[in-house]
Amino acid sequence: MSLLLDVKGVTKRFGGVVANDAVSLSVREGEIAGLIGPNGSGKTTLFSSIVGAHPIDAGAVLYEGRDISALRIAEIARRGLTRTYQQTRIYGQMPVIDNMRISAPDVKEGILPLFRRAGRASEARARDLLSFVGLYEKRDLLAGSLSFGQQKLLEFAMALMSEPKLLLLDEPTAGINPTLINGLIDRLKRANKELGVTLFVIEHNMRVIMNLADRITCLAHGQVLASGTPDEVREDPRVLDAYLGAQ
């Protein structure tokens, strides 16, 4: 499998605080990669660095073999690299279905396609994805009126709607009703298999990430602590230390 994302020695500072310190890791095409680490270890900052939400101080982010670290977030999104947010972000004053419509992939082509009528296929896909995450019944509600967990699912559906190649998910199970988590894991796996979306997932819930990911990287204090298969990472004493030490 070829490398879809290759993070090389990325450093990001906020004032005097080093949030990411020469982080290197990679994601292969078609896999589900995991990113774990204690609170404040720099996971979300790394996501923001990858998608271009802020400039990085050193290193490079290679996506499909090209350095994208100088590009802005919208440019990167247009190349098929999208993220979701830990604090879910959806368009609160718009109906759920419109959230989906405006996430269709052709809005990334420019302004003019916006004046074209969205195709039947696109409409169908929006409905299918809403069914996929179980929000079809809520399609006409304002997105802001959904519960936090539902908004999380909506954001996931919007991300899928935009047909990314690589989707970065920031804690997809946080705030989701525990009884629904297994269903969500199943959906993530299906999205990966059936829609062919490579996933890179930050997750706090160890059971979830061990179950989900093909490979896992662990961050601590902004540095890569360990990486490997779930089993390797689980048994790495440094990872255990980091978690126990942190808690």
């Binding site: 939400a53 919208a74 947010y85 959806i90 419109d98």
Partner: protein
């Protein structure tokens, strides 16, 4: 469908009323004409403030550019009245749109209240600059050419041109809000960072919206300058303290972010204001100020927004399917 028939009937009725109004109440033609102008103000403001979430206090800038561009063209072109007015109005619209596109490069990067105050600064500065610039008459203002026809014809002419402009604005926006462009505007309003992270061309979107808003405002300025007959830099063309604020108020009063809200707001505001001016001689602006405070403090949703909250079934909100 029965609903559709009723709707056609309503549209036809409204159309007839618009056509007949100047003949039914000839004394009020100018008032009606100003009402159309107010509707254009509120609609174009709402495109930015309501749909895009960019609360502009400086849209009056484009009104003034239109007024001046047209008046200068009428003065210097040597064409007949109607030709000069038509070309001048188009010129006003285009120049205003171009100005929006140019200014947007810097200003549209500002967000929230910085955008509001930045545009306020632009509007006031424009008035002051026009007031010092001799080419456009500086502080003495400009007088536009006299209408060639009879008195009644003049009133009707401006009534119908402004009605047509208001209608064109309304229909354009109605169409626009039905496209995904409208959705994209709302997406920027709800979460601009997210919209950008989803790959939307937010900068172009914002510029396009502002230019469109400016285009209609520019034309309205050209027509209003001729309607009023005299262009004063600060009090007519760049009348920030009156028209500039009214357009915000009317849109908020009617309901931000809706198609009909600005229209309703403009009508209610215009009538209220005329009543204040008649019955509260000398105190009308005190009343107006209090009205502003009351509107934004107690009805930030506006008339349509409040109605939607109370009677979601009848006013088209879909928030109740839950």
């Amino acid at each position: 469908m029965k609903g559709r028939a009723a709707r056609y009937a309503a549209v036809a009725g409204a159309g007839l009323l618009v056509l007949a109004a100047p003949f039914l109440a000839p004394a009020f033609v100018t008032q009606f004409t100003f009402l159309w102008l107010m509707i254009v103000f509120a609609l174009t403001w709402d495109l930015m403030g309501g749909q895009l979430g960019y609360n502009s206090f400086g849209n009056i800038l484009f009104f003034g550019i239109g007024a001046y561009a047209c008046a200068v063209f009428q003065r210097d072109s040597g064409l007949g009245y109607y030709e000069a007015l038509a070309i001048g109005a188009a010129l006003g619209g285009v120049l205003a749109a171009a100005a929006a596109a140019f200014l947007g490069l810097g200003i549209l990067g500002l967000r929230g209240h910085y955008f509001a105050i930045g545009t306020l600064g632009l509007g006031i500065a424009a008035g002051e600059i026009a007031g010092g610039w001799d080419y456009v008459g500086a502080g003495s203002g400009m007088t536009v050419p006299l209408f060639p026809g009879a008195l009644a014809a003049r009133s009707l002419f401006f009534y119908f041109t402004l009605a047509a402009l208001a209608l064109a604005t309304f229909l354009t926006l109605r169409w626009l809000y039905g496209t995904r462009f409208g959705l994209a505007l709302n997406a920027v309003r709800d979460d601009e960072d997210k919209a950008e992270a989803m790959g939307l061309y937010t900068a172009r979107l914002k510029t396009a919206a502002w230019s469109l808003s400016a285009f209609f405002l520019g034309i309205s300025g050209a027509l209003a300058g001729n309607l009023i007959g005299f262009i004063d830099p600060r009090d007519v063309a760049f009348a920030g303290a009156t028209y500039g604020v009214w357009m915000v108020l009317m849109a908020i009063l009617g309901g931000k972010g809706t198609l009909w809200g600005p229209v309703i707001g403009a009508a209610v505001f215009h009538i209220t204001q005329e009543i204040f001016w008649t019955y509260l001689l000398g105190w009308q602006r005190v009343a107006l100020g209090l009205l502003i405070v009351a509107i934004v403090v107690f009805f930030p949703q506006g008339i349509l927004g409040t109605l939607r909250e109370k009677f979601p079934g009848r006013f088209g909100s879909k928030a109740e399917v839950q």
